[in-house]
């Protein structure tokens, strides 16, 4: 039986088509997935169903029929009665999704008071029960807590609790786990699954992650540029994908890179007994008191020339702090880091010769560049390290070459950063890292903010550059699939310690430490046998892509 049927939905914002002819059917009591890259119109579809599109300049045509009612014909007041009561929704960013000045109990109870006319006392009792349902037991999570006292995963549970407070027929979850760690993601997904199974709720799960869809959804739709390009039963969709875009998405998810493993002999970076501690202000105390937090606890490892080393762990495990220490940005409390035999020092004046041998690429393609500088100036920034031995022309030439190497045009150096897309910006960041021909590049979540298809392009580029220049990479990521695809060895970090080290293939196939096992088990995967049947040769589909 169909719960929600979207028929020929079109949305235009100021004459710009956002959604084109979307048609979907969501059956009662099932999980329905929508997958697509950013800008594909996934969230817009959800907001259209909720009737929460911005009011100004938006034109919507088509029908949205929800349990027999055409939502397009309802007044705003009637829509309010449906939102939260019959359709609940949760969003991507749990850190900001809750009102910071109201208690979680209040926020859950509000739904109940609003729609069911509960008394405050009854609503509070019910709110306790609902929070219990999302595994926030009263003993540790009483109603009077405020959102800032909870972690991201716990906040997302509160969001779910208030969305399902009245047992709606449909729950829309818009990238509910994207902002969360992999083990938290697994718990939230498990909770969502049990809600569908036990409460007979339908779930509309929006995500960019094919593995999450494979794991969660019985039926799925693939969206691109405001169109549904393919939909159907999930397993069948994976096995018999027809549309070239689906194939492309699948291929880039698989991350089948052309990487050749390397033989490594010579040590490049030696990290021995490194400890990083910093002071945190203790606000709970009356007097200004600082507590010492140890982020990295006596870590030792060696990175070889030409090697790619993965560094994985969940947020707060100390991997970024370690990266900063390696880059010589912070002073160490214990131990020493040597690059090519020279000690890395956090003092600016010293260690210029060491510094020029290493560079960094960060996660955020938007925050990585000074918006007021031209690309030429941005890429040339590391030249600061070698004084000014080059005449300007030779320098410009080097910048041009670096841009060419990352697949951009030398003439791009006169543009400004806002003229580039996210993927192009990450290429510029790599050009900046490359311009001095360093030995080591630290990639701190360098592909995490990118869409899957762009991500695999950037990874390919990094592989090529490594082959060409014998670069060593430290690849920091929370995304295990990426690390698995592009590294030779991997370090697993937990609470500032390395819990497991080994060849990437070994660690991923037979993890030894329980934490690694847990981490691997938590990350959603597409079943190995859900591969496309090769009815259509890949060459042909590649052509149709053009």
């Amino acid at each position: 039986m169909t719960l929600l049927s979207v028929q020929n939905l079109n949305v235009k914002i100021q004459d710009f088509a956002i959604l084109n002819d979307i048609s979907l059917e969501i059956p009662t009591g099932r999980s329905f997935g929508i997958v697509g890259e950013s800008g594909s119109g996934k969230s817009m579809t959800a907001l259209s169903i909720m009737g929460l599109l911005p009011t100004q300049g938006v034109r919507r045509t088509g029908r949205i029929v929800f349990s027999g009612k055409d939502l397009g014909l309802l007044t705003e007041r009637q829509m309010c009665a449906i939102r939260g009561k019959e359709i609940g929704m949760i969003f991507q960013e749990p850190m900001t999704a809750l009102n910071p000045v109201k208690t979680i109990g209040h926020q859950v109870a509000e739904t109940l008071i609003l729609h069911a006319g509960f008394s405050t006392r009854k609503a509070r009792r019910e709110a306790k029960e609902r929070l219990d349902r999302v595994e926030l037991p009263q003993s540790t999570f009483p109603l009077h807590l405020y959102p800032h006292q909870l972690s991201g995963g716990q906040r997302q549970r509160v969001c779910i609790a208030l969305a399902i407070a009245l047992r709606p027929k449909l729950l829309i979850a818009d990238e509910p786990t994207t902002a969360l760690d992999v083990s938290t993601q697994a718990q939230i997904l498990k909770l969502l699954r049990s809600l569908v199974e036990e409460e007979g709720m339908s779930l509309m799960l929006i995500t960019h992650d094919l593995a999450v869809i494979a794991d969660m959804a019985e039926e799925a739709a693939v969206m691109q540029d405001g169109h549904v390009v393919e939909h159907g039963q999930t397993e069948r969709l994976f096995r018999h994908m027809r549309h070239p875009y689906t194939k492309k998405l699948f291929a880039s998810h698989r991350l089948e890179t052309s990487r050749k493993p390397h033989q490594h002999r010579k040590a490049l970076l030696e990290v021995s007994d490194v400890r990083r501690q910093y002071k945190v202000r203790d606000n709970s105390s009356l007097w200004i008191k600082t507590a010492i937090k140890t982020a990295v606890r006596d870590i030792s490892f060696t990175l070889f020339k030409g090697e790619s080393l993965g560094l994985v762990g969940e947020s707060g495990c100390g991997k970024s702090t370690l990266a900063r220490a390696i880059l010589g940005l912070d002073s160490l409390q214990n131990g020493v880091i040597r690059l090519d035999g020279d000690v890395i020092d956090s003092q600016v004046k010293t260690g210029v010769d060491v510094r020029r041998k290493m560079q960094v690429v960060f996660q955020d393609p938007y925050g990585s560049f000074n918006p007021r500088h031209s690309v030429k100036k941005l890429v040339a920034e590391p030249f600061h390290l070698i004084g000014n031995p080059y005449p300007r022309q030779a320098r410009d030439q080097r910048v041009g070459m670096a841009l060419k190497e990352v697949g951009l045009s030398p003439s791009d150096m006169h543009k400004f950063i806002h003229e580039f897309s996210g993927g192009q910006r990450q290429r510029i960041a790599i050009a900046r890292a490359l311009v001095l021909r360093p030995e080591l590049i630290v990639l701190d979540e360098a592909v995490s903010a990118l869409d899957a298809s762009i991500r695999s392009q950037i990874l390919d580029l990094l592989n090529q550059l490594q082959d060409r220049y014998g670069l060593s990479y430290i690849f920091i990521s929370h995304d295990l699939a990426v690390v698995k695809a592009v590294t030779d060895r991997v370090l697993v970090m937990q609470n500032g310690r390395i819990v497991e080290v080994g060849k990437t293939t070994d660690v991923f196939h037979s993890p030894q430490h329980p934490y690694t096992k847990r981490l691997l088990a938590a990350s959603p995967t597409i079943p190995e046998d859900w591969v496309p049947t090769h009815d259509w040769p890949t060459e042909l589909s590649d052509h149709s892509l053009q």
């Binding site: 202000r281 900063r324 880059l327 010589g328 940005l329 600016v348 004046k349 210029v352 510094r355 020029r356 290493m358 560079q359 960094v360 960060f362 996660q363 955020d364 925050g367 990585s368 560049f369 000074n370 918006p371 007021r372 941005l378 920034e381 590391p382 600061h384 390290l385 960041a429 900046r432």
Partner: protein
């Protein structure tokens, strides 16, 4: 609701007053120092465009020279704020969380506890009233304003990756502050500068009004209002003209500031595109 039109209006008004003040250096219709009791309290005419005051001075000339005083005091006071406050704010942000940062911010709070008028009172009580002391008083009050704006804006920039990239490129705190932080807060500082400029005009008028600003015979808008007060029943024109002048000037600056904010503030710009 805002449009470039308001920016243009604000800019035109501001430029008009700055030009009036500029012209007053080389030419005014009449002298503002010589008293001419025979011509006192004349209504507007072709001879005296805006009439004369109780000492027979030409009001238009007084307003022109008054513009010079007002703008001069306000601009110099804002300059003090920028020159001292911005480096302090940049340094505090660079040393975020350190004792130095703490001291600067607490010092700021302390100066905030003294409204500019109270600072002026203290200074005049000791050094006597003058335009220079008015500049000092308003300027001291401007310091924490600019320090706060500079620090706040810089702090969010320091967390960005391009600052880390610059540090990886071996650049020190001072160099990063000058090269990467300052250029990105300039637009905010310009907007704040316009606001402090307009507040300075009002503050100067207030100080002159109570006799703590420019001393006679230097004309100033605030003094003209004070002098007109006893004649408010008989010749309201004397109180109305300088008042309207102040309002127009401040309005123009505020429109300019709002307009500049819309044009320069990247946050607003992003939200629009």
């Amino acid at each position: 609701m805002r449009s470039p039109l308001l920016l243009v209006v604000g800019a035109v008004i501001t430029i008009f007053f700055v030009m009036m003040a500029g012209i007053s250096f080389i030419w005014t219709p009449y002298s503002v120092v010589d008293l001419n009791i025979a011509d006192k309290l004349l209504p507007p005419s072709t001879r005296y465009f805006l009439g004369t005051d109780q000492f027979g001075r030409d009001i238009l000339s007084m307003l022109m020279v008054g513009a010079r005083t007002s703008i001069g005091v306000a601009v110099l006071a804002a300059g003090i704020g920028v020159a001292v406050g911005v480096p302090l704010g940049l340094a505090a942000a660079a040393a975020n969380g350190s004792l130095f940062d703490e001291i600067i911010m607490r010092g700021n709070d302390l100066v905030f506890a003294f409204p500019s008028l109270v600072i002026a009172i203290l200074i005049t009580a000791v050094f006597g009233p003058s335009a220079v002391n008015a500049i000092l008083a308003i300027g001291i009050f401007n310091i924490p304003v600019f320090a706060r704006v500079a620090r706040g804006a810089s702090l969010s920039l320091w967390t960005l990756d391009y600052i880390l990239a610059a540090r990886v490129a071996g650049k020190g705190m001072v160099r990063i502050s000058i090269e990467h932080i300052f250029p990105n807060i300039v637009s905010l500082l310009i907007v704040q500068g316009t606001i402090q400029f307009s507040l300075g005009i009002i503050a100067e008028a207030g100080l002159s009004y109570v006799g703590l600003g420019a001393q006679p015979p230097t004309p100033s808008w605030g003094r003209m209002l004070a002098d007109s007060q006893t004649l408010i029943y008989s010749v309201p024109r004397l109180a109305l003209l300088p008042g309207f002048t102040i309002v127009l000037m401040v309005l123009g600056l505020n429109l300019l500031g709002d307009g500049l904010r819309d044009v320069l503030d990247p946050r607003v710009r992003r939200a629009r595109s």
